[in-house]
Symmetry: C2
Subunit: 357 residues, 2 copies
């Protein structure tokens, strides 16, 4: 391994000077700098990150705690995180799938000293206490968690509003017998979507509308199974809202396999608006979520919390969602792909800032 010492020797300067050249931290004579740069280039030297973070106590890396789930939504979030982080020259250390609190603790602990802050995603309430503890070691930003922590920023999605809008939409289309395929237990996005959908129905007056709730876990196959369950019931719903697009695809696959036509025989709606949604057959009516943007925001909030001048300010951002009406629910939406987006009526991106002390 070639160290700063080697470069210093080769260039005939002290290690301090080499360091200054690489950090542009102080003026260095042009000629000296040149010697250093040349020597470093020849030796193929680059500063050791671990040593650097030990002295500066800054790692220029952020940790990302992902949920067990995967698929396009999370892949988009990571992309957003990665891009935003790279722009500020930060690296990202990711860790996913934590079976329980112990694994989660282990994962975060092992990041100790390697990250300047943490983005924690889609944790359930039981993890709140753990996160609160981590917070003493470094700043944290919460993403899609149901809980908030005082002094900690968070980003999330207007799940409730999006699902509410979808409920209203389906009701407006004249559906009375509705069903929802729920997401995984303990998942906040899933719970909020359920709440929002229920609310739309309650508001419509329960007597006139029925709602069947079927379990799901955000996977296509769980959507497929949910459809089978629904078809077994004596009175089949006329519209099914899946708590995410993957399950909606599973639903549509199952209905088609049973010879039902979507939307003529049964309407299907999803949530997330994954890239494929507009190309499905039929194109999927869903709730648009900007996952990429959400990832970027999480990074920006985290970086802001590193900055001493804004350190004590905390923000709670809720990203707007909006209905995207396509053909899977049978409304007369435009036929062409790629032109159907329209702003939703209620959900607005929201930012609440609090300054402590």
């Amino acid at each position: 391994m070639v160290t700063i010492r080697d470069v210093a020797d080769a260039a005939g300067v002290s290690t301090a000077t080499v360091s200054r050249v690489f950090n542009e931290s102080a003026r260095v004579d042009a000629a000296t700098r040149k010697r250093v740069v040349v020597a470093a280039g020849r030796l193929n030297y680059w500063p050791n990150g671990a040593a650097r973070s030990l002295t500066t106590s800054r790692s220029h890396a952020i940790g990302v705690l992902l949920p067990d789930l995967f698929g396009e939504f999370f892949s988009e979030v990571i992309r957003g995180i990665d891009q935003a982080a790279r722009r500020e020259r930060y690296q990202i250390l990711v860790s996913s799938s934590h079976a329980d609190g112990n694994e989660l603790t282990a994962a975060v602990r092992s990041m100790n000293g390697r990250i300047d802050g943490l983005i924690a995603m889609a944790l359930d309430k039981r993890s709140a206490e753990l996160i609160r503890r981590f917070r003493q070691s470094f700043p944290v930003v919460l993403m899609n968690t149901g809980f908030r922590i005082r002094g900690t920023s968070s980003v999330s999605i207007a799940n409730f509003e999006g699902a509410f809008d979808m409920g209203r939409h389906l009701l407006k289309l004249g559906h009375h017998r509705l069903a929802i395929v729920k997401g995984p237990e303990g998942n906040t996005d899933a719970e909020e979507r359920l709440r929002g959908f229920r609310k739309a129905i309650e508001d419509a007056g329960r007597a006139r509308v029925s709602l069947v709730e079927v379990p799901g876990d955000f996977s296509e196959s769980s959507g497929y199974r949910a459809a089978q369950t629904l078809l077994k019931a004596r009175s089949r719903p006329t519209a099914v809202f899946a708590a995410n697009d993957y399950m909606a695809v599973g639903l549509m696959g199952a209905f088609r396999a049973e010879g039902l036509r979507v939307p003529d025989d049964i309407a299907v709606a999803g949530f997330d608006d994954i890239g494929m949604a507009q190309y499905l057959n039929p194109p999927l009516t869903t709730v648009h979520v900007d996952a990429y943007e959400e990832g970027g925001r999480a990074v920006r909030l985290l970086l802001a919390s590193f900055d001493p001048s804004t350190k004590s300010s905390t923000a709670t951002e809720v990203l707007a969602t909006h209905l995207v009406i396509r053909r899977s629910c049978g409304s007369r939406a435009p036929f062409e792909a790629g032109v159907e987006r329209r702003p939703g009526s209620r959900a607005r991106t929201t930012r609440k800032e609090e300054v402590h002390r």
Copy 2:
């Protein structure tokens, strides 16, 4: 920040002893250990990773260089990498989207000292020289790169064979006018799939079969556009092979929008077998690839290269692919979802091991 010193003082022992307790590196008296554990617990101490890797010159982390592309395939690969790494208590430092060689170099350099090895994915040939240079700093495993580097393990997919099988399948179904939607320029997977498909057609005797090649970039929308291009041509193909499933979805969306039925009016096939493929309408005939498994293999190869006893051995693994015949090409495949998989005829997972010296 609480350090090993604090714990040592609190427990009335030396830092060496605390270190021994945390590393289980040497026998420590049960009572002493207890004192240390209690003190550490009370202070909420955990070793600093940077300091640790500085002394041990091991970071217990692996770097992952991702391509600009995204979507389910890569998200699956990462999942596979993450799981395998976590099993061995390794962390992963990811970096994606490198516009050019300079960005790539910068990304890898900044990992210096923070990773024990690197998984480099889907790089084009121009990056081969860069990687060769990195190799002097730490072991590298190549994933889905066209090139090989002596002394470096690699994992890839039987793209050629998969596409060849698909070509044969379409020909066997009686198609004479074929089209392929290609993947991004410089992408090896895309190039191999093109080669394999061409080969199947050449083998069939060029005179009888025509092949139109349309550009694409692995995105749904590029598939959509490709379909529009194809439909403008005077003699429309009877079957279109998309170099990945996302583009196949775009194709199907476009054909349906134009009032064509798949597969009755035109057959569509894909590559990758993403989770959704079997639930699409119609279910997509495609080539199955185990992305998750590929990620895991890359990790295992990398970890093997850390082990001094196997250090000098190098493996080249090619993961088998196999045709998954569903309904988008009109063959009489089973109607039910989830039961259609069958092993391909040619592609076999392959492992070539070389021991140097």
